[in-house]
Symmetry: C2
Subunit: 417 residues, 2 copies
């Protein structure tokens, strides 16, 4: 049986050394890690092919198989991603504030690693490298509990990373891949608050609930996006059609895809038929309220929405649509149904846009842009470990800075109280 | 029975209005709240006297009775504290970052309220006002679950606050005092993650463990301080005596009081006898390792430390002391025994001070100053809701900024992906 306690304790010890590493040593390691991934492509793909074969034989569905499979292209991206992380600024040691207080003490708030981070994720084996690379650059050790379907791929990628760590005389316990835990052992892992500072669950509803209910360690959830687009009365309707179609169709299975469009009643008769037609052309099924059905004139791509269709994360080419009576009703709908992930307003009225941005407190609120931009790369973070839906520590995309905490470092000349 | 679900839901609804309040309205309310506390002093003291009488009859110990009791002086301080919070800058709406990304999107990171905060605390009734005032200024609604000993005081203070809220046409559910929950009802409260964003437990070991083990909502623990002072070989020994005595004796029951002094072996023979004498004069009992016993020559205030005395939060005029072989051994001791709250080094060697500040990752690390300065007022935060020992979101004193989160507000001109 895996001794998770011993693994977590080793990670804690490693984290103390990682917290003090020079930026240049971290970057040299990351560049070498990227090189190693490229040079061992054949071996990685072979291990992954075994995982995929076994998962297919076990009847895993096609969507999950697609997430599980590595390709020469996805490996090259993985390797590039690690190089990009090497090129990003090091958040550790940054002096965020620096001031003197009346007692004469000089106070600095310094960005410092969180410590030990445990990622719990499902099929994607690439996470074994990219989550580690991000945690490492931010000075953290990580425990990576991946899905059992990816066991061979994860084991190989983790051992490859540990080999490079050893070559750089860095603690191998900087990354630990954990597999083969039953629910009981998972509970044991989630109780190790003396060694682990943060748990990040990424995956389906069931996984996230299990972690939230059983973790004694703080968690940041990367949970569902029930994202709304509100087409306000003053919107540019050409722009609105483009954005609504893009927000739904450019990557329907992602958490920042739109799941519901709200249309201001003052433009509904002009806009709804156009949007429904454009969505139909793009293969989207619309689940509309009565007014949408009426205005669109129906058709094969239009169905009456059930109450369940609002607040639902379709993750597919299906979109809920409702006509609302202006800003207040749009916001009331969002307050009731949104998951707080991403909301967009399309409008030419600056005051309305401002009100929307203040009153809608989602992690990302956009004006005249697609919800798909709520993403670490698109918002300039350089990379992301995921998009947090927890209103604590990090809300929205989590990049390197979000993998750190601020400490107080204080210098005096003998001050007492 | 208290319907905690309904109370939490009402807090969630109120939080949406609080998130959008103008600074001036918030400050006018707080100033009026401070006035109300002063003008109703007699009534508050009478309710509190009933609590104190009942608690004394029930056999509550003197330390807890002291925390429970309000006085004209402590009420005046409470009222002043609320006025000070009114005078602090409003963290909500502050633009922390503002930049353009290659797609042409303009990205702002804007400080925003957390939402609904639940404080769970023990006897101190003042928290009912000061935690609310801090949460309110940062745009949050709060649920306040105080100790049953303070039930009358808390109920009166909360109803007073709600009266002032109503007068200002603000949502009364901005603050809710909850009492009379058994363990089962507490578990129900701690499962309401759809309405509550953060739980802050403040109190004894048992309370904090119960919350950590049962909460499905993120928690920030305000837990124990096992704080160390390391007297390094180059330290100014006069300064070191003053600081060690101050760190232990100026408020021994607080979490930032020193619990253990580590003395570099190179100055041990010169320093230990002086320090032990000074501590004895201040009424402190020293629990020393063999070398401390030997060097100090014993005496009525000196006892041999048991293994349990290291890593222990005495919260009294008792101090552990150990001789260590330089910086590495001091840091190894701290890594093993510290609670990560506060550590100080006394040294004249800049390089050693820098190494200590980097390698010791506690929430506050001080050079040549007393551990007692790890405090929101002393470190310039203006006020604090407590000192976090969680390495997430806020680590160290939590002021107004730490009661907020950063959201992304993004403006475009029709961008799609």
């Amino acid at each position: 049986m895996t001794d998770v306690r011993a693994l977590a304790q080793a990670a804690r010890i490693a984290s103390r050394e990682l917290a003090c590493l020079d930026t240049s040593r971290k970057n040299e390691f990351l560049i070498d890690l990227a090189r190693e991934i490229s040079s061992r492509e054949g071996e990685i793909l072979a291990a992954n092919a075994e995982d995929v074969g076994a998962a297919r034989a076990a009847g895993l569905d096609e969507a999950k198989l697609a997430r599980l499979a590595l390709t020469p292209k996805s490996l090259a991206q993985l390797s590039d991603g690690v190089r990009q992380i090497a090129a990003l600024p090091d958040p550790v040691g940054a002096v965020v504030k620096d001031y003197e207080v009346p007692s004469g003490l000089r106070v600095k708030r310094i960005r410092s690693p969180l410590g030990v981070i445990c990622m719990i994720y499902e099929a994607r084996p690439g996470v074994t490298i990219d989550a580690f690379a991000l945690c490492f650059k931010a000075g953290n050790a990580c425990l990576l509990k991946g899905g059992k379907e990816a066991a061979r791929s994860n084991a190989l990628l983790a051992s490859l990373a540990r080999g490079v760590l050893a070559r750089h005389k860095l603690p191998e316990a900087a990354t630990t891949s954990i597999t083969g835990l039953d629910r009981e052992a998972m509970r044991d892992l989630l109780a190790l608050d003396e060694f682990i500072d943060l748990v990040i669950p990424r995956g389906g509803h069931e996984l996230i609930r299990f972690v939230a209910q059983n973790s004694r360690i703080p968690t940041i959830q990367h949970y569902q996006g029930v994202c709304h687009v509100f087409v306000e009365a003053s919107a540019d309707l050409d722009l609105a059609v483009r954005i609504c179609v893009n927000a739904k169709t450019s990557a329907p299975a992602t958490c920042n895809a739109a799941e519901c469009v709200l249309v201001d009643t003052r433009v509904a008769s002009a806009f709804v038929p156009r949007l429904v037609r454009a969505l139909g052309d793009a293969g989207v099924e619309v689940r509309g309220d009565e007014e949408v059905i009426l205005l669109s004139g129906g058709g094969p791509h239009v169905r009456a929405a059930t109450p369940d269709d609002f607040g639902r994360e379709f993750l597919s080419l299906t979109l809920a649509m409702r006509v609302v009576d202006g800003l207040d009703e749009a916001i009331a709908h969002i307050h009731r149904y949104s998951s707080g992930h991403t909301e967009a307003i399309l409008t030419r009225d600056q005051a309305v846009a401002d009100a929307f941005c203040t009153r809608v407190q989602s992690s990302c609120v956009l004006v005249n842009a697609s919800t798909r931009f709520n993403d670490g790369y698109q918002l300039g973070l350089g990379a992301e470990i995921g998009i947090s839906t927890s209103r604590l520590h990090a809300f929205g995309p989590m990049g390197l800075e979000e993998l750190t905490i601020q400490r107080f470092v204080v210098r005096g000349e003998g001050q007492t109280r």
